[in-house]
């Protein structure tokens, strides 16, 4: 028994099966985590090797090259880049998005092991680590304080962090810029020399007086005691009163005589300020697979709790919270889904005019959507932008199948059949073609699941969801829909009058619906049939006209009005500003600039809610330090603005104002102002001009030339060179002969130097369970110039002291930069961000205007990379995909019509979809990006569906023996409503997406615009071009067919001779 018959015969089973599906779906829905994108591992693996004492170029030849050569054969490798610095080599492998990272790490490990034998002897074992999503911060808070700032570290570590650690799914919590308590013993060099004491002696005294030691057991007649010397410092002031030495005169020298003891916070190296107040940044990551939104919500709640227990001057402020953005995007998409649902139902109601029919159709939407949640649940995915976008796309299409079935059943019922029987037999007539049209959609969406690269990850889910949803809707259309029709549709009301005649009760009854909508639709039918008739009589004219229209519509493309982008940047109300001052600028000087800028920014942009500034470097290697590379001369700012609907200026304008401001400061070497999109694939939309070449000077010079040239391009902003400038270092060169005469070696001298400048670590001051470093060092005034350094006293083996200048020379020199390599060649990258132009245009401008001006010597080459390259890769993938989809759709249609010609006719509508897309993009001033290109691919499937409906019906009429033109006109008249209806459901389903202004809407708007534009134009043109082409192409064919039949069955021409 067929599925629809069983469904109609067993309504209870059918309903309960769907109820079960809905229950499972709702369960999956409630379980689904919310995230921004489908889970994806960033495909980067880093191999780090240290080789103490090697300079950058030695590192490059002895370590980096060997590692690179070994690692190039890793599977799925896309790019190999490396950095060689003094002592450290870092090789970064970028694999194809979506490759299996565990396998890749194993692979890398075996190659590293193989290469390890060729590394120099003193090299450390290479360390392999992969970047995972769980190490990315999900939210950051700034904690500011005034009076309690000094104790903030303790408050945070003892109260805030432990409490946050209770939260489910929370990962690493790190603090940046927290003030550490330190006890400094700052010694005066001259006093030291005067008393003939060395710094090490002081250090030893300080650490020797700070101990707890067990000193045996004391046994008394009855009891037994452990004895301990307890002389750890309780107060830092105790240190002052320690005696260091005796002068020959018998005078005691105390620490207070030669040094000052300061119990304070650590010397400034990393400065954190929020809105100008002292701040600490709290950086929170989540565990892999944890629900970002939930973790952030818990963190928010917990912090609100903690806030109450903290001193009143401590304020916790949000710098950014990625969940907010996710939640807002998801909310606005959910809204789009609901609006789409509403619109689709309204369209159905408008065309059918019956609420019962509308309910029957409408019910397929939630069922199909709920099945999508089951899929998401089973695939361990989440409610994210991609999955919700897919649902919006699918909504308009799920009703089509149900509409076809319902329409046929209604036709049967109107003829006076019983709804029960009509449902069975009417479904029987159409179910095959319903499945066939679904196959067309499957042919479009299944190939999407095969895309590779980053686009693959994004569209994999989309492909599956739409496929699952469409298949579900088909199943619903041939089971639940006929079942509901058999129960809900009413048989035509008739009765037999007293004369025994059949009287139609409904005849003559006309509701407002019949009077208005039906009459209007009738008029549309009429008008269309008439205009179609005219077109059929003027086929050549029509075709030429349409062709002209097509060519005209493409002019914006040739005029260069349609740019290309990788992905639209989103206005999330967050800007990252990076500023580089002259290399070697003292941190205090950097801070002055930072404060000045902060003040200017706030006056220029009164909208600013918060500026978090960090400057300087954190010497602790925390995970957070991996993401922020602040150095003495670098300032990093995060600027938070209100949500975009709460301000007038958009973020790009604001960024431009900040850039112009920064350009005015002479001390600023380079600046960057990046709009944080929060999308995958790194920060910002950049075009990277890569310059390959061995010679540093030449490539640096070329890079500088490029920078100047690119800066002159109108659309280029934030032009930056990747290579850092040479860093000025102070180098101490030891005279080995002199040193050895004094019993000193380079090693001992370097230790002594370190003790004097960086400080000698002398144990800890314990307070309340925490330990604080005690550091003995020279006073700052005695170690902040080259002459001071030369004047340092170094103890010799004989116990006397010499000045450093006697055994070593001190000079300034330039440390060579980090050596960057890509694809095993040295590289410099010049990055530029487009402003008021598109990525594609900027890349083209650079390619045509900048690159030819470079005089590249032999062995030097340039290449355009960055997001532009990814975009190009993705577009070529998309084109290939589009071609594959067109092939598949053709195959499905050809087998459906059992004709090679009919699909050709239908496919003629695809170019018109293109012209619709061009017009829509041109009118809205958008550029074509990855998401828009996806829309183009989808259009192929959606557009041909209209054609199929029409051609199928013309075929039917032809088979029923109508003359060609008559058949075409009849079909057109009869099919215009279903065609308009399916087109309107899809178009209106997309409208909420296209006009949405919610957070993150920039990303999917192009999809809506592309589909709406393409479908609108192609739908109206389909209604003319397909019938006309059909007329042109099949006139002869059918006459020939009859001729062929006559020739085949020649027996009819035989003459029967009567036997005599």
């Amino acid at each position: 028994m067929s599925i629809y018959k069983s469904a109609i015969e067993k309504p209870v089973t059918t309903v309960l099966i769907f109820v079960a599906v809905i229950v499972i779906g709702i369960y999956s829905f409630l379980k689904l985590p919310i995230d921004q994108f489908p889970e994806m591992d960033p495909p980067y693996i880093t191999v780090m090797t240290t080789y103490p004492g090697a300079s950058a170029s030695e590192m490059e030849t002895n370590v980096t090259k060997i590692m690179e050569n070994a690692l190039t054969s890793v599977d799925h490798l896309k790019h190999i880049t490396s950095q060689s610095k003094d002592n450290i080599s870092m090789v970064v492998l970028e694999l194809e998005w979506g490759s299996n990272m565990d396998e890749a790490v194993n692979d890398v490990r075996s190659f590293v092991d193989m290469a390890a034998n060729n590394l120099p002897d003193n090299c450390s074992k290479p360390v392999i680590f992969k970047l995972s999503t769980s190490s990315m911060p999900i939210c950051q808070y700034s904690i500011t304080a005034d009076e309690t700032y000094a104790g903030l570290d303790k408050i945070l570590n003892d109260e805030v962090v432990p409490q946050l650690n209770h939260i489910d799914g929370i990962g690493n919590i790190s603090l940046s810029g927290a003030p550490d308590r330190y006890v400094y013993v700052n010694i005066d060099q001259q006093k030291l020399d005067a008393y003939g004491i060395t710094l090490e002696q002081v250090g030893q005294v300080v650490s020797a007086n700070n101990l707890n030691l067990s000193s045996g057991t004391i046994k008394m007649p009855q009891e037994q005691y452990q004895m301990q010397v307890r002389s750890e410092y309780i107060e830092s002031s105790e240190i002052e009163n320690l005696m260091v030495a005796m002068t020959p005169q018998g005078q005691q020298v105390f620490i207070r005589d030669i040094a000052t003891v300061k119990d304070t916070i650590k010397d400034l190296s990393l400065d954190e300020k929020t809105n100008g107040r002292e701040a600490v940044r709290l950086i929170i990551a989540k565990q892999t697979g944890a629900n970002t939104v939930q973790v952030c919500k818990d963190v928010r709640k917990e912090l609100a709790q903690i806030q109450k227990q903290l001193p009143s001057d401590v304020k916790i402020e949000k710098i950014y919270d990625s969940s907010e953005n996710i939640q807002n995007s998801i909310n606005s998409l959910e809204e789009s889904v609901l609006y789409a649902l509403l619109f689709v139902v309204l369209v159905v109601l408008f065309f059918l005019g019956k609420w019962r029919a509308t309910i029957i159709i409408g019910i397929t939407i939630p069922i199909a959507l709920i099945v999508a949640f089951i899929y998401l649940g089973m695939a361990d995915s989440s409610l994210n932008i991609i999955s919700l976008c897919s649902l919006t796309i699918a909504i308009g299409m799920v009703v089509d199948d149900a509409i076809v079935v319902l329409e046929n059943i209604t036709r049967h019922v109107e003829r006076g059949e019983d709804p029960h029987e009509a449902s069975i037999y009417a479904t029987n007539e159409v179910w095959v073609s319903v499945i066939a049209t679904t196959l067309v959609l499957v042919a479009v969406f299944v190939p999407l699941t095969m895309l590779s690269g980053m686009a693959g990850i994004m569209f994999h889910e989309l492909g599956w969801i739409v496929t699952v949803v469409c298949c579900t809707s088909t199943i619903v259309a041939i089971s639940l829909t006929p079942m509901l029709c058999s129960k809900l549709l009413k048989a035509k009301q008739v009765h037999v009058d007293e004369n025994g005649n059949l009287v139609d009760d409904e005849a003559g009854k006309q509701g407002w619906y019949e009077r208005t909508v039906v009459r209007m639709l009738d008029r549309v039918d009429e008008y269309y049939a008439k205009s179609l008739g005219w077109c059929l009589n003027h086929k050549a004219l029509t075709l030429i006209g349409l062709l002209l229209l097509f060519v005209l519509s493409l002019t914006p493309v040739f005029a260069g009005k349609i740019g290309t982008d990788f992905m639209q940047e989103q206005d999330n109300g967050r800007l990252s500003v990076t500023i580089k001052l002259q290399r070697g600028t003292r941190i205090e000087e950097t801070l002055k600039t930072a404060r000045a800028l902060e003040a200017r920014f706030v006056t220029l942009i009164p909208e600013i809610e918060l500026i978090n500034t960090s400057a300087g470097s954190n010497d602790d290697a925390t995970i957070a330090a991996l993401f922020t590379s602040t150095m003495n001369n670098k300032i990093q700012m995060t600027v938070r603005l209100p949500k975009k609907w709460q301000r007038d200026r958009d973020i790009w304008t604001i960024a431009e104002i900040l850039r112009q401001e920064m350009a005015k400061y002479p001390e600023i070497n380079e600046y960057q102002c990046v709009v944080s999109s929060g999308g995958p694939g790194g920060n910002g939309n950049t075009v990277d001009l890569e310059i390959y070449g061995y010679d540093f000077d030449k490539t640096s010079q070329m890079a500088e030339q490029c920078r100047q040239l690119i800066s002159q391009l109108p659309g280029a902003r934030d032009v930056n060179i990747s290579r850092e400038d040479d860093r000025p270092d102070i180098k101490v060169t030891v005279d080995k002969e002199k040193a050895s005469r004094l019993g000193l070696s380079s090693a001992t001298i370097s230790t002594y130097l370190r003790n004097r400048v960086a400080g000698m670590s002398c144990g800890y001051l314990k307070d309340d369970g925490s330990e604080y470093d005690i550091v003995v060092r020279l006073e700052e005034d005695d170690r902040n110039s080259i002459s001071d350094i030369l004047d340092l006293s170094i103890p010799t083996a004989t116990g006397k002291t010499v000045k450093l200048s006697e055994v070593a020379s001190v000079g300034e020199y330039w440390a060579p930069p980090t050596i960057e390599r890509k694809s095993r060649q040295r590289i410099v990258t010049v990055k530029a961000t487009p402003y008021n132009t598109t990525l594609g245009e900027l890349a083209k401008a650079i390619e045509t205007e900048v690159v030819p001006q470079l005089e590249l010597p032999v062995g030097y080459s340039t290449h355009i990379g960055g997001n532009y390259e990814t975009q190009q890769d993705t577009f070529s993938d998309m084109i290939l995909l589009g071609l594959m989809i067109i092939m598949l759709v053709y195959i499905v249609m050809a087998s459906q019509f059992e004709s090679l010609r009919m699909p050709g006719i239908i496919m003629f509508t695809i170019p018109f979809a293109l012209s619709g897309v061009v017009i829509a993009l041109w009118l809205t001033g958008r550029s074509l990006d990855m998401i828009g290109a996806l829309g183009l691919v989808l259009l192929v499937g959606i557009v041909v569906k209209n054609g199929i409906v029409l051609v199928d019906y013309i075929n039917l009429m032809r088979e029923r023996g109508y003359e060609l033109n008559q058949a075409i006109q009849m079909s057109g008249r009869s099919r215009i409503r279903p065609v308009l209806m399916t087109a309107f459901t899809t178009i209106l389903g997309m409208v909420p997406m296209a006009v949405s202004s919610g957070e993150g809407a920039e990303m999917w708007q192009p999809l809506g615009i592309v589909v709406i534009g393409g479908l609108t134009v192609s739908t109206f043109l389909t209604l003319y071009i397909v019938p006309v082409l059909y007329g042109v192409m099949s006139r002869h064919g059918d006459r020939d067919k009859q001729e062929a039949l006559r020739k085949k069955f020649i027996f009819m021409n035989l003459k029967v001779k009567k036997e005599q």
């Binding site: 059949e417 019983d418 037999y425 075929n955 039917l956 088979e959 029923r960």
Partner: protein, 93 residues
């Protein structure tokens, strides 16, 4: 022999019950086309509908009543369609 659109199955069975006709042979999914009008029922793309057919052997006096009922059924809605043909049974076992 009564040939009718599938969609009339329920009505034909009801009619036979009312007339007290117990025996019949039922053929499902039969094709045909009418001589005087009557859409073809071929189960094809062009003519997707199908007929069913009942052969019932009745006494001669039951024939007029049956034919009249069938005529009524046809009048109920002509588009769906029902036809009946009567001929003699020479012998049975």
């Amino acid at each position: 022999m009564i040939v009718f659109n599938q969609a009339n199955t329920g009505r034909v069975e009801y009619m036979l019950d009312v007339l007290g006709i117990h025996g019949f042979t039922f053929f499902e999914q039969v094709q045909g086309r009418g001589t005087n009008g009557g859409e073809p029922r071929r189960g094809t793309h062009a003519w997707p509908e199908m007929n069913s057919c009942v052969i019932t052997v009745v006494e001669d006096d039951q024939v007029p009543a049956l034919l009249e009922s069938i005529k009524k059924l046809d009048m109920r809605n002509e588009e769906v369609g029902v036809r009946a043909f009567v001929w003699n049974i020479e012998a049975t076992v």
